[in-house]
Amino acid sequence: MFEVVIGLEVHVQLNTKTKLFCSCPTSFNHKQNTNTCPTCLALPGALPVLNKEVVHKSIMLGTALDATINRVSYFDRKSYFYPDSPSAYQITQLYTPIVEHGKLQIDFEDGSNKTIRVNRAHIEADAGKNIHDGDISKVDLNRAGTPLLEIVSEPDLRSAEEAILYLKKLHSIIRYIDIGDANMQEGSFRVDVNVSIRPKGDEKLYTRVEIKNINSFKFIQKAIEVEVSRQVEAWEDGTYDEEIVQETRLFDQVKQETRSMRGKEEAADYRYFPEPDLLKCEVTDEMMEKYTKIPELPDAKKERFVSEYGMNQYNASVITSSVEMANFFETMMAEDGVSAKTATTWLTVELQARLKGDVNIMNSPVDAKKLGFLVKRIDDKTISGKAAKEVLDHLMENEAVSVDDAIDTLGLKQVTDTGAIEAMCDEIINANQDKVEQYKAGKEKLFGFFVGQVMKASKGSANPQAVNEILKAKLG
């Protein structure tokens, strides 16, 4: 039997206003080569100046990962020629990174958990983009010099499932402390996977294969699975030594296989050495004081939801998996008389089902306050759950309308006035004496008929519970 050994390297683009070493904006979707300056174009004589905001966000990540934050770290040059790297070296932190020795807990569905060690997180500059257009290649340097944190795990992960849990947790933490957008499609959360196998019980690490830049959790899982199969098959066929070499492979999403990108014989020598244009990166006492105070993390929030709102672990973890959802939920709960259970259903089921296309939880026409109020109206029995769905549909279409106005407009207010319900019940009983006889003779199934008739008469606005009680009393 084999054991799978996985280590992950995640490049997170930080959401700073300006680039890592110059004051160019980091914003996306601008015209090519407009967010550039002598420094990020590597013109002769231009020099880098460290953006302190990057240091601040690194401290926040280090705190979230319960890591050592190095009060002094250094930058190094990593040399390689490529058109999207204007200076032909990347400024990174090889020898002393700003964050080291962190940890991250992953939670399994059965309630157990595991701690994954984080080796380091270091600051480095992103490259630009090469755009290949037939015979011509174009270079866009808008992204060149955007700050990245490369977060490197220890090879502690033992399955594709664990890898995904780690990535989702890390993603969630980054969003919670808001140091990056972490959008995989836009490339602000890029994952490289290192995979090897070994016979169970063996402590040695075997040849690791790197799979680069896979842009969804689903494909990462698949890429790991097919790479593990490839390695296991090679081992079993006795071709492991020839076929499994230390190399970088690409995951082909169509063919569902990994493919060699560049071989070992072409392995680059990056000729690292300390960056002489920058001084040491110092974390001051003031920075520590200020930036180790980070927002509540997903795990803490989950536990708080369980104890504060009496939610079950599962619901709490669903709600806290995304910071936007958790914040939305808490805003809903701020309304008096809202139960966590109803709020959870209406957020995760009803609202989610109505978010389509470009509409998401952040720009939903029904915001957290409004949905909270709607839940309150369900909980205080002003409307039935069924009626609330109609109200929510109406509100999604009419952003300016309040919950109560929508209920009025749609005429969905529940009738809880027992006098009115009694009158309706009497009317139905009188008009159906034959059925009353049958019911009294023992055909109890007919009770549903009476309830239905009353509800129909009230056009659905009668409180069904009240109708039940009154009918029971009258029919004996």
Partner: protein, 447 residues
């Protein structure tokens, strides 16, 4: 030639007239080949600019073929400071390609002559700057000094050249050779002019992270009457030529006559300086020059594919000495050699720094040769090793980051100037200029 101090008193009309005459003089002395071209910016006192300091809208090429066609889109911090203080960039002057050389022979624009002998080199790499000032074709110039590139040509051409403490003058806009060693400095006709120009170009600059952020000035307190303790290095001087030894002895007598206290000190063998310097400088240079790939600017030579374009561009764009240093730098940084070379060189650098610090515990200044000989004839330093060894007296100052000033002391029997340097502790430019002014007055060198 009028001094910088005098020129700063001229009115606009006088300056314009002066600049017209200067242009004519430069044109009449084309053989010297100090200037690459004579553009000007602004209406201030003209200052010649080394071809590696960015002047907006000028072609700035670091003396290299690879940067032909490149137009600088921004001003270096020192250029901004010149313009803010009534000075004008006026003509760019020749240099060794990417400041790698001691003779200005490696320039794409051809050799520059020594103004004192047309068959001799002006020194390098700031040879154009030194020759222009030495020939009376510039009031003053800016140079850059990575391992002696201001002080050595100043000594060869009989002018004053000063390298500030590392971090005193912003490097923003200086085409980098070796980032941890490079400093821009003044090259002038006399010590006081050097102090004036130094005061203008030095100071804090947030665009250069290695800038020390100090804004103190020298001129307000310039005082040649201070009595200083000055170290001499008898053993160190033994390897120099007789011309240099004679000038050294003369300078010692002059300093004594001026009332300074002379003490003898020793320094370790300069062969370690050479190794530490050429490893550090080439490691930094190889990465600093990697940006010249023909993709974004400069002189691209197309190939069949990307790799060939890189290869062709750099093969045709760089000269031999630059290629040699790129190769050396790549070698010392390559996997498996990094510890043995680069790391060791940094340790040596610390030892050199400590050695200077120890001397400066009870000494104000050190008197040292600048070069082992007077300016050599063209081709004499064609062997790279001979050229590297000619740097022995200047490079430790860069490795230790100290300020130093080269000034002319005397001429040898052939009429070639001999310069010596004073070295001060870090950020003590005040004492450096005070002592240099005193020595200059005492030796009364005649150009």
């Amino acid at each position: 030639m009028i001094t910088l101090k005098e020129a700063l008193t001229l009115n606009k009309d006088e300056l314009n007239k002066f600049k017209d005459e200067l242009r004519n003089k430069i044109e009449a002395n084309k053989d010297l080949n100090a200037y690459i071209d004579v553009n000007s910016v602004g209406e201030g006192v003209p200052i010649a600019i080394k071809d590696n300091i960015q002047v907006k809208d000028w072609s700035i090429t670091s003396g290299s073929k690879i940067l032909q066609g490149y137009i600088a889109p921004y001003n270096a911090t020192v250029i901004k400071k010149l313009l803010d203080n009534g000075l004008s960039p006026f003509g760019r002057v020749n240099m060794d390609e990417f400041a790698m050389g001691s003779t200005t022979e490696s320039s794409f624009y051809g050799k520059t002559q020594n103004p004192h002998a047309s068959d001799r080199v002006p020194g390098g790499s700031s040879g154009g700057s030194a020759a222009a000032v030495g020939a009376g074709l510039a009031i003053a110039a800016l140079g850059s000094d990575t391992g002696g590139s201001i002080r050595q040509p100043a000594a060869f051409c009989g002018i004053v050249g000063m390298k500030p403490t590392y971090g005193r003058v912003s490097r923003y806009g200086l085409g980098a050779y070796a980032s941890s060693l490079d400093q821009i400095g003044p090259m002038t006709q006399n010590v006081e002019d050097a102090a004036i120009l130094y005061d203008i170009i030095s100071g804090s600059d947030e665009k250069d992270s290695t800038n020390a952020g100090r804004d103190d000035k020298v001129i307000p307190n310039l005082d040649a009457t201070r009595k200083l303790t000055i170290a001499v290095l008898p053993k160190y001087v033994e390897n120099a030529s007789q011309d240099i030894k004679d000038a050294y002895a003369k300078a010692i007598e002059a300093l004594k006559a001026a009332g300074h206290t002379i003490v003898e000190r020793e320094m370790m063998d300069a062969k370690y300086d050479i190794s530490a310097y050429y490893i550090t400088a080439t490691a930094e240079a190889t990465t600093n020059l990697a940006r010249y790939d023909g993709i974004r600017y400069g002189n691209r030579v197309e190939g069949k594919n990307l790799e060939e374009t890189f290869y062709n561009t750099r093969s045709e764009g760089f000269g031999d000495e630059v290629k040699r240093r790129i190769l050396l730098g790549n070698f010392v940084l390559s996997s498996g050699y990094y510890e043995a070379y680069y790391v060791k060189a940094q340790k040596t650098r610390h030892i050199i720094k400590d050695e200077y610090a120890k001397i400066f515990e009870d000494v104000d200044l050190i008197l040292s040769p600048v070069a082992p000989t007077v300016a050599p004839r063209f081709g004499e330093l064609a062997n790279p090793m001979d050229m590297y060894l000619s740097d022995i007296y200047t490079i430790s100052v860069n490795l230790a980051g100290l300020p130093a000033l080269s000034l002319p002391i005397t001429k040898n029997s052939e009429g070639m100037p001999v310069g010596l340097q004073l070295i001060a502790k870090a950020y003590d430019e005040q004492t450096l200029f005070d002592g240099a002014l005193s020595l200059e007055r005492e030796v009364a060198y005649k150009a």
